[in-house]
């Protein structure tokens, strides 16, 4: 017989509602975090802005001036170093130009457009698997109010990110790349940023004038897509997928090096395989620079080097799974 006593039924309803709210809260929070991430991705690609930022890695700190725009469906960016030797990088869609004004030297590189998994670059539609996002509190960066977003890797093969996202524009004001135990490997932060309504192409001209400088392509850009690679990766960390297999001539020996790229959606890893009997310095074991780890080993007379902005465990794991087909 069903009880009709409301004093007995009300608490159970309240408990049910509370349980539903609790069950739904994490999903709602994750959705909100995901939405903020998408908004940031859109703003960083489409919004015009200029500012000054600092890039901190290891014991070093570089300050840079940046201007960014989106003109006629193409992304433009100019990054100019403010400290030490003059150096700037200009990106126009897929074309990247590096300029060393003191040496009056330019290097022009066209990023290959035939990636195996083609998709509009810098177009985040969902949080990649093996990461979870969480909204944090608020803070101020470069004098602007920001919402803090934390992205954590679900295992030891991924770094975490902590991002300060401008509440008004959605622009990324600061990003910390975080390893185990909260160690910060890299930090990039705007010290000054100004959203712009429009920006002209003239803002993306290299600072060098005249004809007295050398202009050449990147020797490493002499590449050919590889449909049947000689070497394969047999044991990848979860979530990593192939982006590109290429053969490229690598100095000093000029022989073809197999270059394979994998990504988990946020981070990427390169695997280089080349004959070990060259004059090049053999690389054995682990090295790092800021957040970038490299791991080298020799397999069947070949030097295998794995490089990426991933934890040490990832480059080691991938290197140990490299096999000749």
């Amino acid at each position: 017989m069903r009880s009709r006593d409301p004093t007995l039924r009300r608490p159970s309803r309240a408990v049910l509602v509370a349980l539903l709210l609790l069950w739904g809260a994490p999903a709602w929070a994750a959705d909100e975090a995901g939405a903020l991430l998408m908004r940031m991705a859109e703003a960083m690609s489409r919004q015009a802005y200029e500012g000054t930022l600092v890039y901190e890695h290891g014991d070093r700190l570089e300050s840079m001036a940046i201007v960014h725009g989106y003109i006629d469906g193409r992304e433009y960016e100019r990054l100019r170093v403010l400290s030490g030797e003059p150096f700037e990088i200009i990106r126009e869609g897929e074309k990247v130009t590096c300029v060393w004004p003191a040496e009056r030297r330019m290097l022009v590189d066209q990023r290959p457009g035939d990636l195996l998994a083609p998709k509009p670059p810098r177009n985040l539609r969902s949080l990649p698997a093996h990461y979870r996002a969480e909204l944090g509190g608020t803070g101020r960066v470069a004098g602007r109010e920001a919402r803090i977003l934390r992205i954590e890797g679900e295992d030891r093969y991924r770094y975490g990110y902590r991002m300060w996202i401008d509440m008004e524009t959605g622009l990324l004001l600061r990003s910390d790349l975080i390893g185990r135990k909260g160690m910060v490997y890299e930090r990039i932060m705007f010290t000054d940023i100004k959203p712009l309504d429009t920006v002209g192409r003239e803002r993306f001209e290299p600072s060098l004038e005249g004809e007295e400088y050398s202009r050449h392509g990147d020797p490493a850009a002499d590449t050919a897509r590889l449909d049947d690679p000689e070497w394969e990766m047999t044991d990848l960390p979860p979530g990593f997928r192939l982006v590109s297999h290429r053969n490229q001539a690598m100095p000093p020996h000029g022989e073809a090096v197999q270059h394979s790229v994998y990504t988990d959606g946020l981070a990427s890893v390169s695997i280089f395989v080349e004959p070990a009997d060259t004059d090049a310095m053999p690389l054995r074991g682990l090295s790092r620079m800021g957040a970038v780890h490299a791991f080298g080993r020799e397999i069947e007379g070949h030097q295998v080097t794995v490089v990426g902005e991933v934890p040490a465990a990832t480059v080691k794991h991938i290197a140990r799974g490299v096999r000749r087909r």
């Binding site: 944090g136 803090i148 990427s268 074991g285």
Partner: protein
């Protein structure tokens, strides 16, 4: 004959240090003086803040960062004699060595990236242990003071080998950077890394 750096006034040398234009010997000299002289350290910070202001960077960040690093380096080398008592005195060899070590440490902080090459498996134990301050879901921007993990490719090797390793890895890194934003999340990290690597001495 007097070299350009030897003929510099203290002010010029300090300014050159801020701009990263001092060669190793005068740099070490002025770093030694920075250790001795609190007023000089304050002036260094002002110069740096001035330059940062000219460049549009945030002097607060750089100034605070430098002050913390200098303080850490100096506190790691305990001083026995107060700076004001040092004039006209000759330090014992041990003390001079300590100051030289501390000056070298500051020099490394200012001018040279920390360099590290690790044997297989050595990373986990050699990475500095930093207190986890990333556990809370609400963190203020000013609370994120975790030191950055240092280290660049090739340290611990003989200089010639170090150069060769760095050259090799530089080529790999440049090639990798062409694909480093293969992930979908837009950020300026790949370009910044390229800048950072090019800025390495």
């Amino acid at each position: 004959m007097t070299s350009k750096t030897e003929s510099m006034t203290g002010e010029e040398a300090l300014s050159a240090l801020v701009d990263g234009e001092l060669e190793a010997l005068p740099r070490n000299r002025i770093l030694g003086r920075l250790l001795e002289d609190e007023e000089l350290r304050a002036r260094w910070a002002r110069y740096h803040a001035g330059r940062a202001s000219l460049e549009g960077t945030d002097p607060g960040l750089i100034g605070a960062d430098f002050s913390e690093r200098v303080a850490a380096a100096v506190s790691a080398e305990p001083r026995i004699v107060a700076p004001g008592q040092l004039r006209g005195t000759r330090w014992p060899l041990r003390e001079r060595t300590r100051v030289a070590v501390a000056a070298a440490a500051i020099g490394a902080i200012i001018a040279v990236g920390g360099v590290l090459a690790l044997p297989d498996g050595a990373f986990e134990s050699s990475a500095p242990s930093v207190a986890a301050n990333d556990r809370g879901t609400t963190v203020a921007a000013g609370d994120e003071a975790a030191p950055l993990v240092s280290g660049t490719f090739g340290d611990g090797l003989a200089p010639a080998e170090q150069d060769r390793v760095r050259q090799r890895l530089a080529m790999y890194l440049n090639s990798h950077n062409r694909f480093a934003d293969a992930g979908e999340m837009p950020n300026v990290m790949p370009s910044s890394r390229l800048v950072g690597f090019n800025a390495e001495p």
